[in-house]
Amino acid sequence: MKFGVVVFPGTWSDMDCYHVLDTVLHQEVRYLWHQETDLGGADCVILPGGFSYGDYLRAGALARFAPIMGAVADFAARGGLVLGICNGFQILCESGLLPGVLMRNRHLQFRCQWVHLRAERATTPFSGAMQPGQVLRMPISHGEGNYYADAETLAELERRGQVVFRYCAADGRITEGANPNGALRNIAGIVNREGNVLGMMPHPERCCEPLVGGADGLLVFQSLVQSSLKALGAV
């Protein structure tokens, strides 16, 4: 499978995503510079974490205007797989590719820590390798991860099963105490209505090797690879 990792000025999870895809999963991967307008034939585009353009205005607010984002939007509209991690999730929301916004964490501080996530849906291309309800352990690292959407949008997300990951306790219960940033309904990751664009605040690329604390993040990338193999099989 061919991955494209977008690099904006200020992006810093680009090398981490590249490392996991290339060294750990042996997939084909290339960087996509923000000024490019062509995705180089990628099967899946990753918008990694960081502070694109410094994020001095609002996280992701400038990145949405980057030349590459036009190509990403077209790609998504054609059903292409797009994974936004952390700043990537913020950019997808700012771009309108996903509903809602990510506000400053409720306690106003940056948080870098491990959290538990419950996989609410195992039928997306990003979660097919998981069991429904499976509890995953992943790191977060953000100051603006407090997911917000109006009541109507939230109801719609829930009704259509677009909430893929929720912050939960170690035993899978959705509790206030397990919510690290104040996100509504403990939302940690959502997909668009069509299910081909996922945004998530936790960093799956940071937990793909036991040596660095865990390997649950592999499930996200393995889901993508599996889904592309299935797609090939269907052709």
Partner: protein, 742 residues
Amino acid sequence: MIDQSTLDEIALSWEEYRLIAQRLGREPNPLELGLFGALWSEHCGYKNSKPLLRLFPTEGEHVLVGAGKENAGAVAIGHGLAIVMKIESHNHPSAIEPYQGAATGVGGIVRDIFTMGARPIALLNSLRFGPLSEARNRYLFGGVVGGISDYGNCLGIPNVGGEVVFGPPYSGNPLVNAMCVGLVEADGMVRAVASGPGNLLMIVGADTGRDGIHGASGLASRTFEEERELRSAVQVGNPFMEKLLLEACLELVQTGWIVGLQDLGAAGLTSAAVESGAKGGAGVEIDVLQVPRRETGMDPYEVMLSESQERMLVVVRRGYQDRVKTLFDKWGLHCALIGRVIPEPEARILEGARVVAAVPLAILTAPPLYRRQGAPSSEVARLRAYDLSSLPDAPPGGMSWSGALLALLASPNIASKRSVYRQYDHQVLINTVVPPGGDAAVLRIKGTPKGIALATDGNGRLCYLDPFAGGAIAVAEAARNVVCAGAEPLALTNCLNFGNPERPEVYYQLEECIKGMSEMCQRLGVPVISGNVSLYNETAGQAVYPTPVVGMLGLLPDVTRHCTPAFKAAGDAVYLLGADLAAGATTGPEALAGSEYLAHLHGLVAGRPEIDLELEARVQQLCLEGIRQSWVRSAHDCSDGGLAVALAECCIAGGLGFTASALPQPGRADALLFGEAQSRIVVSVAPEHALALEERAQTLNVPLIALGAVGGDRLALRPWVDLPVAAAQDAWEHGLERAAGS
């Protein structure tokens, strides 16, 4: 034309002024005098500390770039790779404007690392504040942590460790020492040189403004009473610009288009140009009109001495300037051609066609060096002679020993620093194997089986009581910390935070401390590869504790064989290395000298700390061998708070209890539980390996005590301490937040 106020502003003395005029053979003009003020400052010229710094051992088989040679030191770690590292202070700016002061401290040290062509892979921060009971200290603490968090997080460099310590002498004069560690291919390092007449000088990054003028001479090289008037000397950071510079410069060093790279730090363009010219054996010519500015009407003096952040000086091979510009354009960075390398060994400053300053580099870079006469203060002599055996052997106020342990675990100096480091991204770059919170952080080196361990350490209270022992202990503890992680100490960087060296008691502290550090370095075979000196840390005539901060690098041949303080399994045997059962120095009143127990519970700073350099080396050797042999399953430095605190921390980290079956004969219970005798490590060992460890200890002549076994859910050191691990954990985990009122 020269008056006292002019000299005061740049912190030069009349004697120094006369020396400048004599060496030049004429009076310097105001701009030239400004150049001297910057380069002859303590901050840039090390005029008080250089003669003492020569005592440090700086050679070693792994050393590639030794102390004082470049922006940072470098050591080889095999596989053709090198680690580049340095620690630096930003104390004075942080005292005035904590958020920007700390943020730009991070920015400065990161530039020192990528200036050498190395990718920064880790940050550490060693911080000191006054007690959190004072509102001003809470403000400084919050501001400094916020500044480090925002700047470092934006750069995508993990912040993997450090210290946060509180003590009354740091009220009003916090210490903010930032350390950065980089990774580079050993043959790919870049030097900060301007050589080859005809080569070009380009400046890249932020435009130059009026911020930070006299930062080096004014802020960092004298004491100050009225802080507000100096606020304009604090710079404002832009971490996004720094991130662009970092990526662009790392791309640039791969091209072969440049001969040198130098960041603009203290004393701005003046220091960058002069130092790289002097190192390159050439001269530099700069036209200030070509320097991009963010303000109008700046004169040559302001341009040359601005400390605007996020700027780099690039020495470009003639003919390559367009290619360099294209590369920076790609990153959206503004660069400008501002001068050239000239054959005459002088700093020549032009304003258009007019020469506004011309000074030989040899004079600019040779400040007078002062060797002063130090003397201990009578106050310290009195505290040192204090008869600790006169203290009652009981916690104050009818507190139980278990209560005293809980109080220590909750004290801001010992309690978990999680509420601080969870604000720092400590995982980005996915190398973090052991995160902050243990004795040392461990990072893997991708593409190799190796790992590095990093720790900072320095105990100002011990140095105050005995600067020689305190200096040796700073080195010993930092080394012990990386040893406890399973790493062999390889090299260190250091930041020396002291008061005004013109006062004999401060000079005495500085001299003795450096001697103590040097002897411990010699004994452990660890060279000093870089460092920084921060003097004049005083407010209203009160100096901070003499505080050397040691940043230690350790190497693990196999990173999977790292070790942590956490107890691993019930039934494991727990040993204390470095002490025996007989009542002696480790349990007598002298073990309480300078301890956290005395300071926190009795409000007393007294006694004379000691360290046996030979024993220290043998204890470290035994612990390291034990970990490498896989006998030792956990290891924890026994330091602040003594044995009871160390055992509690091992229990908390592992979620397991411990019951003592044998403890040293107490000369005194307080000394047994909370004494801080040096050279001790708590280890746990699987029962089948216990004998092997004991035999090896005997061979190496290291005393040890089989303290008891891991198990249950209580920490029991009967008859004194018996409490649930959960209670210890609650005190330790939330102590700092409760004290900070957050």
